[in-house]
Symmetry: C2
Subunit: 250 residues, 2 copies
């Protein structure tokens, strides 16, 4: 599935707390928006439980299927944090104390605070490269094209800045949204025509309810600004013809 | 993967808008909490694009892997709504106007409003059974163990009440949460001991930042109330010994 034209990514959300419904996943959105800005399209997300076999299988599938793979969750100090060991097994790399990670954690904590639990956060594939953590010390890591980040959204977000230079994307994916005061069925036919005229532009149609009013967002996505403009003009043409109110364009 | 003891489910979120990061998925949480209450555990979620081949493959994998499968999104009137046709192909059932669905939509709309776009919402696997939609008319549908629901969260939620009687779960999964004023690394060792003593109870540990303060939620899950209680007592024992402050229990 890797090809030279498209640089893509897959995300693996590891955590029973998301599958149980207790926690709403927002890391997908954070990662996808960041990857889009770097010209990388997210093609698939899997949310899987804290089960070693499932994690290893999913990593092995994704690392061959996508240009980049991101895992979130399961790299903390507790018994249910098994991502680092699973990545080691997926790549057949020894799992143990990572020298550089241990040194970072030793500097981060007072010697009296540096408990066994905290030391565990330096255990990972021993030849992994580190992803620095400006928020809470414990680093993430990457092996080949698989990047392992923590599950806590604010910490994950703080670590992305340090990753930009490691990701080589294609042209950034641009998008333009036209919000209309209409319902999908009123524009379905015209929009199909626009999609047929512009096959390599992605046109999405999403109903919304906002401030008690119905509307539809039409989102046009492409890495080519000129193609987006052509597509937009066709949309605005039928919108004018059908006398549909434009809420705004963003 | 189907077995008689555990009734499980997989969720397929269909939509480019989630993969692009534009929309945060909250349907997983809604479906998981509802399924938990019926004694069904969600084992995997996949977020996939609006691509027919991907949808068909994922449905075929999931319908054999899980007791129940739920799809969300892609059943509206526009060109990017291809879930119904994909389900038809996955099950090799003719895709066309569903008599009962058409009759529902005819009653829901004035004849002058019943456009081609709206009629499309009656196109689905012709032998599917319907899932009634109390919010906006257009029904969902199910074929064997695969249930197709809309992507708009409020509409999806309104349709679950009508589905309860179709889902036969195991014992409901109970959970108990203890929120502690501590950090994970302080309790990692004790918690590992408790997990080792209670192997068939799921113990999750989740750091939180709330009102500017750090804490850890310990979530204990099982269908057996007595096992949860035993586990809780062991947790409360080490919490007292380590003089950790309990924020609350829920």
């Amino acid at each position: 599935m890797k090809n030279k034209k498209e640089i893509n990514a897959g995300i693996i959300i590891i955590g029973n707390e998301v599958l149980s419904g207790r926690t709403k996943d927002i890391n997908t959105s954070t990662l996808s928006l960041w990857l889009n800005s770097l010209g990388v399209q997210v093609k698939e997300v899997r949310i899987i439980p804290d089960i070693e076999k499932d994690i290893i299988e999913t990593i092995n599938t994704f690392k061959n299927k996508f240009s980049y793979v991101f895992t979130t969750g399961g790299i903390g100090p507790t018994h249910d944090d098994i991502t680092a060991e699973s990545v080691s097994k997926a790549f057949n790399i020894e799992y143990g104390y990572h020298k550089e990670a241990l040194s970072i954690l030793e500097k981060y904590y007072n010697p009296s605070e540096f408990s066994e639990g905290r030391k565990k956060m330096a255990m990972m594939p021993m030849t992994a490269k580190l992803i620095l953590n400006p928020t809470s010390g414990a680093p993430g890591f990457y092996v080949e094209n698989v990047f392992s980040l923590p599950g806590v959204p604010s910490i994950l977000k703080s670590m992305l800045g340090g990753l930009d230079h490691l990701i080589t994307g294609g042209a950034p994916i641009l998008s333009h949204t036209i919000n209309l005061r209409t319902v999908e069925s009123e524009i379905a036919k015209s929009l199909t025509q626009v999609q047929n005229n512009n096959q390599d532009v992605e046109i999405g149609s999403y109903p919304f309810f906002r401030a008690g009013k119905l509307g539809v967002s039409i989102v046009v996505r492409s890495s080519d600004k000129a193609k987006i403009d052509t597509c937009n003009n066709e949309i605005l043409k039928f919108v004018a013809e059908q006398k549909i109110q434009i809420v705004n364009e963003v």
